[in-house]
């Protein structure tokens, strides 16, 4: 048990490191075009695989150790400039992300890792590292007015960076900075922070010219393309002084000082973790949430006792005090609940990073140039939702690249830029997060969708002309719209789109598609922020009580039987000039009536995205915050029910799955017609 837990810890830590490694590669890839990448990114990637090597060694995951070791050498060669950061090298580095992912998955599933899985890859890495040659003729370091004592202690990396900077025509500055012995760490960090925007700190060394007893003076060598005034401005009021280092225009070639350097180790870097975070199993949070829910139920019980006590005169003062305490308890409970919810929230950026990698790989496979733009990566969603979202998004993007974005020649002919664009935009709207995935590809062909839907018997011919454009587009989400075999010839993005839709629906989300032939496609996913706790409307129908998530309730109104009309046998209501389809809760759920329906009933208008439905109920009971609990696997597939919740006094009510009900009513409409 504990061994399992330790292993899980290792795997999730490894996963995080691989993700950060991936982010660094993406940044390098993005900057490669301009040629000015941040060398710190290579260092980060190097540190990442170094940590992975250590971890894998600790847990005796042999292939992972070997992989990390090989990558470490390659990245070391990169940061020392022995290997150039060419696209092929970057590809190799990206490939490692997949390999690590597979290893983590296998180890997690208890499958032993085969050495063979990395052999081929390691051979290619070795070849790439072996092809090492200096990127450019090394400029001479002699002839600068740098203190030879400084030159003699540069590490190979620092020396490489110095040469690179000189080759790039940057200026060199020496910054002389006094620090208090007591606070040198923070002081130095601050100075580096100020210098970072104006250049690259090549090295820093204790100065040979100390100024005072309790001070330590450092000489910082900065490479920068900024004029001296800007560098001076950056460190103004730090007490440091700047002087320029003379760089001879073209120094005569001579042997570079051959110096001792460490073996790619990060000298002086602490092993202490910098991050202030704790990894927590989400199930522990679920458990805490359950406890909070029970506390809330207990508080309701106390409130009930209070109400009863109110009648007794002789305890009036006690009742008041108890009431006061009870309110405090309620407030604190709410805070606790909000706190737990907040802990569950993670930024969508986590999956967007993975998606960038997918785009890169698939577009290369497909031989298409595709640019991915992302906005709203900081938008937060419940961890569970984010986890479940990555597969559907991956699917959508794969489809967009495979079938949406046209080959370069076609795009040119259509007057579009050769590079296709896929844009992901996430934003919060009230209790929902809306994620748009847009591409500027070929779009869907309406006529073909219609043809296919007819051919597969998904709609009837006479029904076809009644479909709105949007309804027509959304036919691609129907199961059976397309199969793997026919997907391509149908210009089909239909590969498993029904699966995508089902996955989104499981998260109480709605997916919608809009497309313009020749212009592109936009898929919109609307999701609740959390599934853990939601405000709900409590209703009664057919003698039973149900909860309806409030985030999908638009309004509620009273209704008398006379208000109801029928269209093709389906009950509808005219609401402000629009036709609203009605669904009687007892009929939808096939409930036996326990009492005759009341003469006057209520309509709860629910909607997700642009779809509306009027739920006919007997009574509106009130609003309450509820914690939705799963019915368990045994009853998991009860359609129309999202889960259950406790209202207090051991009363359990079912929570209606509005998305599924709306869906069912739409499907019912097309079947009936």
């Amino acid at each position: 048990m504990t061994v399992d837990r330790v292993l899980q810890e290792f795997l999730s830590e490894a996963q995080e490191i691989v993700e950060s490694y991936n982010r660094d590669l993406l940044a390098l890839d993005g900057a490669r075009a301009t040629g000015a990448y941040d060398p710190e990114r290579i260092n980060n990637a190097f540190r990442a695989v170094h940590s992975l090597k250590g971890l894998a060694g600790l847990f005796a995951v042999g292939p992972m150790t070997r992989l990390s070791h090989a990558l470490e050498s390659l990245l070391d060669s990169l940061r020392l400039g022995r290997v150039r950061l060419a696209p092929e090298v970057l590809d190799l580095l990206f490939e490692a992300v997949e390999l690590y992912g597979a290893m983590i998955a296998d180890t997690s599933a208890g499958r032993p890792l085969a050495d063979a899985m990395v052999d081929d890859y390691l051979a290619r890495v070795a070849a790439a590292a072996g092809a090492a040659k200096p990127a450019s003729p090394a400029p001479r370091l002699a002839g600068f007015d740098l203190d030879p004592t400084i030159l003699s202690v540069l590490t190979e990396y620092e020396e490489h960076r110095l040469r690179e900077s000189i080759a790039a025509g940057r200026r060199l500055y020496r910054i002389h900075a006094p620090f208090d012995l007591a606070s040198i760490d923070t002081g130095l960090d601050e100075l580096k922070g100020r210098l970072k925007p104006v250049g690259e700190v090549v090295t820093y060394l204790p100065s040979s010219e100390p100024t005072a007893e309790d001070k330590i003076d450092l000489d910082v060598i900065l490479a920068s393309d900024r004029p001296p005034a800007e560098v001076e401005a950056a460190i103004a009021d730090t007490g440091a002084s700047v002087s320029s280092v003379n760089v001879p225009a073209r120094a005569a070639p001579a042997a570079p000082p051959v110096l001792a350097h460490e073996e790619g180790e990060d000298r002086g870097r602490s092993l202490k973790s910098i991050s202030q975070t704790v990894r927590v199993d989400i199930r522990k949070l679920d458990h805490l949430m359950n406890v909070v829910g029970e506390l809330a139920v207990a508080r309701t019980g106390i409130q009930g006792i209070l109400e009863e006590l109110r009648g007794h005169r002789d305890v009036g003062d006690l009742v008041r005090r108890l009431q006061h305490e009870s309110r405090t308890l309620e407030r604190k409970l709410n805070e606790l609940q909000a706190g737990i919810l907040e802990v569950r929230m993670v930024p969508l950026g986590q999956i967007f990073d993975k998606l960038s990698r997918v785009v890169r790989r698939i577009s290369r496979e497909a031989g298409k140039e595709v640019r991915l733009t992302i906005s709203g990566a900081e938008t937060e969603l419940d961890k569970l939702i984010v986890e479940e979202l990555s597969d559907p998004l991956m699917h959508i993007i794969r489809n967009a690249i495979d079938h949406g974005i046209e080959p370069a020649e076609l795009r040119r002919a259509a007057g579009k830029p050769e590079t296709g664009t896929i844009a992901i935009v996430a934003q919060q709207r009230g209790n929902h997060v809306v994620i748009d995935v847009r591409d500027d590809g070929a779009g869907f062909d309406e006529a073909r969708i219609l043809e296919t839907a007819l051919a597969r018997g998904l709609i009837a011919r006479e029904q076809a002309h009644e479909l709105s454009r949007r309804e027509l587009m959304n036919l691609v989400f129907l199961p059976g719209f397309s199969t793997r075999d026919t997907a391509t010839e149908l210009s089909g993005r239909g590969v498993g789109m029904d699966v995508v839709k089902t996955n989104i629906a499981k998260l109480s989300g709605i997916i919608d598609l809009a497309s313009t032939r020749g212009r592109g496609t936009q898929i919109t996913i609307t999701l609740p922020i959390t599934l853990a706790i939601i405000p709900a409307l409590i209703i009664r129908a057919a003698g039973r009580t149900y909860a309806v998530p409030l985030n999908s309730v638009l309004e509620s109104l009273t209704m008398t039987p006379g208000d109801v009309r029928t269209i093709e046998g389906r009950e509808v209501l005219s609401l402000r000039g629009q036709t609203l389809t009605l669904a009687r809760v007892d009929q939808v759920l096939a409930l036996k009536l326990r009492e005759p329906p009341p003469a006057r009933s209520y309509v709860v208008v629910v909607g997700l995205a642009q779809h509306r439905l009027g739920l006919v109920v007997d009574e509106l009971v009130g609003q309450q915050d509820i914690v939705i609990k799963s019915l368990g696997r045994a009853l998991a597939r009860v359609p129309g029910i999202a889960g259950a919740t406790e209202l207090g006094g051991q009363q359990i009510v079912l929570v209606l799955d509005v998305g599924a009900l709306v869906e069912e009513s739409r499907r019912g409409a097309s079947e009936a017609a």
Binding site: L589, L591, G632, R633, A634, A636, V638, A644, I652
Partner: protein
């Protein structure tokens, strides 16, 4: 833990007093009544025994699942055992003696609705017969054997995993 809070006199107590050696018992089951018959399940599978409480009906659930209850914040489906076993006797509202046995399968819990809990029974391997090929009432697939601890008493031993497997593969 498994038998915590059982207020019933058990044969185990009797045998311990009589000086019998516990090591010779291979089966320890909880016997309960369903109609006129006596059934039993492995005591190690029972986490808890609670009084019946109102269930919340779940639409479209199998007919033998009258609904769900909450046990300490956890939602648990309740199984009406008579219907699950397809006993001919019609289901009737649970009486005063009716109990819900909370049993687990994997990491999921279920409640079994029974008419009355009788006692814990210990048996040797030799006291247990394989399930008869032809049995009048219940589904033979759900039965692991027949226990005859003494005399004419007959306990129908339930195969809990089979009883609790009903959702997989259902559309």
């Amino acid at each position: 833990m498994a038998s915590r809070g059982l207020p019933y006199a058990t044969e185990a107590t009797f045998h311990r007093r009589a000086g019998a050696r516990a090591a010779t018992w291979q089966h320890e089951v909880l016997a309960f009544a369903l109609g006129d018959e006596e059934y039993a399940v492995d005591i190690r599978r029972i986490r808890e025994i609670i009084k019946t409480r109102p269930v919340t009906e779940v639409p479209r659930a199998p007919a033998f699942v009258p609904g769900i209850i909450s046990v300490r914040g956890q939602i648990i489906p309740v199984i009406e055992l008579r219907q699950r076993l397809r006993l001919p006797a019609p289901p009737r509202p649970p009486g005063r003696e009716a109990r819900v046995l909370i049993v687990s399968r994997g990491d999921e819990d279920f409640g079994l609705l029974v008419d009355e809990v009788r006692q814990v029974v210990r048996m040797r391997d030799s006291d247990v017969e394989p399930p008869p090929a032809m049995l009048g009432g219940p589904d033979v697939d759900l039965i692991s054997g027949i226990g005859r601890p003494w005399g004419d008493r007959m306990l129908i031993l339930l195969d809990l995993d089979a009883v609790l497997t009903f959702a997989e593969g259902r559309p």
